[in-house]
Amino acid sequence: MIRLTKQLLVLMVVLLATSVVYGQDAPSGTITLWGWSFDSMEATGLIDAFKAEYPDVNVEIVVYPSGDTYQNLQLACSAGQGAPDVVQLENSHLAGFVALDGCLTDLTEQVEPLLGEFNDYKWLDAERDGKYYAVPWDSGPVVLYYRQDIFEAAGLPSDSETVSELAATWDSYLEVCKTIKEETGHTCFANSRAANDARLYEIALWQQGLGYYNEAGEVTVDSPENVATLEKMGEFWEADVTSEAQPWTDPWYAELGGTGEDSTASLVEASWMGVFLKTWIAADLPGVWGVAYMPAFEEGQVRAANDGGSTLAIPEESDNKDAAWAFIEFMLARPESQITQFAYNDFLPALESTYSDPIFSEPDPFFGDQTPRQIYLDVAGQIPSATVYGPSYSLMNGHVATAIQRYATGEVSAQEALSQAAEDIRRETGLQ
């Protein structure tokens, strides 16, 4: 009798253990996603494909614009509850969240085999003390968008290669701008003085491998190189070739999407801007915008920088991390998924194994049948590592933007403006 009971007990325990083990094998349950770019997965059937492979997982997408995503995630982490299972975070703000202890899940183990597959610079903001907390999604290689019709009206060539040669450096780009201003009266690009958001400045820093701090963690906002970069931008203000339209406002859109007198001739921005131009800002102007390489800061330097780009992370509060990781791996680490998304929204995948796909050599009718994707690819491979983003990015960007505004409106010199910003940043962050 006793032996039978013991055997029964052992059998029960073994069965229980087996079922637990097997139960854990297949991810299951519902995962909640927070972000603003999941339409590239919904509209292309990727979510359905994911469900086909993981039938026990339900996917719930909550669309929040970036600002709301960051605020809600920060509140959820603070409150200890309410966080989603997967969250979209731009590189610019990722380091800030990684710095919040216990907010994001340590994904080092899962991510180790993938480290070499993505653009190197994307891992900087996801890493802290040797651990990784997010997976790269898309990149923002910066290029020069230019209006072919305005270039032609100014007597300049309008094909991509020649324009790339003409604007080989910021100095020669300035000459191009002056020509356009003289011949046609059009402004070269929008760079508001009083409402500057430091975006173009950060691009210029990035391409030189500079940033707001150095490897030792010291603040470099007022370094001679940073000051020189600002002064180079100042030359464009002095030559009066830029427009005062404030970014992401209606007049700014009107300049980019119209053919009137106030339309602007070019724009130095990341590849996702091309998507915006195509789909809504300049949707009525197909065939008129072109894509060239962005100018180098100085002769012989690299013609590549990054602006933006997102990642996906798993908040520590998630109680369905297996399913969440399965989702991230499916959507970001597989070339097919990334290519499908790219075909839909033109956001350049950070996954380098996708770069051999023929889709990148397809001509784009919106850009007058040029092949901008080749340029994006080429640029993405050359993006240097820079220290623009970081845990205190919002704070630093705020101070630097104000400094640029003070310099641009003629209040102080570039050195003084940046010195004051640096002083404020050092005091508020405790960095040297």
């Binding site: 919040l100 216990g102 009083a194 992401w248 106030d262 104000t402 005091r427 508020e428």
Partner: protein, 315 residues
């Protein structure tokens, strides 16, 4: 029953709270407490606790996550050197000076005019002036931002018809402040006018009639009777405007989206917005709480001054 009666109170009424006979007063008190308790409960949870927690946090450098690290008064030291905070206080004062006299005058004059039933359609005017107050501020701010755009906005287009050079409404620090004041005036005039109207209705008509009989002109009535009697209401409106000037938030974020409400060269940022940015933008909750405490003290002092100079007749 021995009743303790204090000299200043009438001997026929017991002091409040003192039992009359056994537990009746006590029972009444208990019911009273019960009925007002929801408010106090909610206030304790959502008002008092956050206030106290904020005070505690102001002594730390907490980033919203993890352990709270206390640093004593170091935040105060940082605040004293914080250029942007003092700029925001300065902006608050400037906006207050630009906005309040105009608003007080306009709301009072309009209230006096529209108080008289002899004005045709006075109800219609009151409604029209009040309507901006109930419009959504985000929508209103966004529309004003479109109207005030220096290149393509309607305001400059109208000015162009009269051959006036385009005004950089939102592009320079001073113009931005004036534009902000225009928006705030438009939005809040109706509210303050209604408060003034309510105040006017407490002034007995006999006073005005008597004055008219004695030969006073409407202007004299306005300055000698109306304004002095309206002192408490004016003070109330003044205090609201003061606090409001320093707390502007929605107006800023919808008028100046490119700078997240700060305006050109931080010319329009207010302490309210600054505290929010520090806490929820930069994750510096300890510092934001400290700024809130300092800001509270400063505004409290300002309001105390206002009460001293305007309220002494009515204490």
């Amino acid at each position: 029953m021995n009743l303790q009666v204090s000299p200043t109170q009438s001997a026929s009424y017991p002091p409040v709270g003192q039992p009359i006979a056994g537990g009746l007063q006590q029972a009444q008190n208990r019911w009273g407490m019960l009925f007002v308790s929801p408010f106090f409960l909610l206030f304790a949870i959502f008002g008092l606790f956050p206030l106290l927690f904020s005070l505690v946090l102001s002594l730390s450098d907490w980033n919203g996550q993890g352990a709270v690290n206390y640093i004593g008064l170091e935040n105060l030291n940082l605040i004293l050197q914080d250029r942007v905070f003092w700029q925001s206080m300065f902006n608050g004062v400037l906006i207050f000076l630009l906005y309040t006299p105009l608003q007080l005058l306009l709301s009072l004059v309009l209230a006096v005019v529209l108080n008289s039933r002899r004005v045709r359609g006075f109800r219609l005017f009151r409604t029209i002036i009040f309507m901006p107050y109930i419009t959504n501020m985000v929508a209103a701010g966004y529309v004003f931002q479109l109207l005030m755009n220096s290149r393509s906005g309607l305001f400059n287009q109208i000015l162009a018809v009269f051959s006036v050079a385009p005004v950089p409404w939102l592009d320079t620090p001073w113009a931005a402040r004036v534009s902000l004041v225009i928006l705030v005036l438009w939005a809040w005039l109706g509210y303050h006018m209604t408060i003034m109207l309510a105040g006017l209705q407490t002034i007995p008509q006999d006073l005005n009639e008597a004055a008219t009989v004695d030969g006073a002109s409407p202007l004299q009535i306005f300055f000698r009777i109306t304004i002095p009697l309206m002192r408490p209401v004016i003070l109330f409106s003044l205090v609201l405007s003061t606090i409001g000037s320093f707390n502007l938030f929605t107006e800023l974020v919808s008028l100046f989206p490119s700078t997240a409400g700060g305006g050109p060269l931080n010319s329009t940022i207010t302490p309210g917005l600054y505290i929010f940015n520090q806490g929820f933008g930069n994750f510096r909750f300890g510092y934001a709480s400290a700024v809130a405490v300092v800001y509270f003290v400063l505004v409290f002092l300002i309001v105390l001054v206002e009460r001293r100079y305007l309220g002494r007749d009515n204490t």
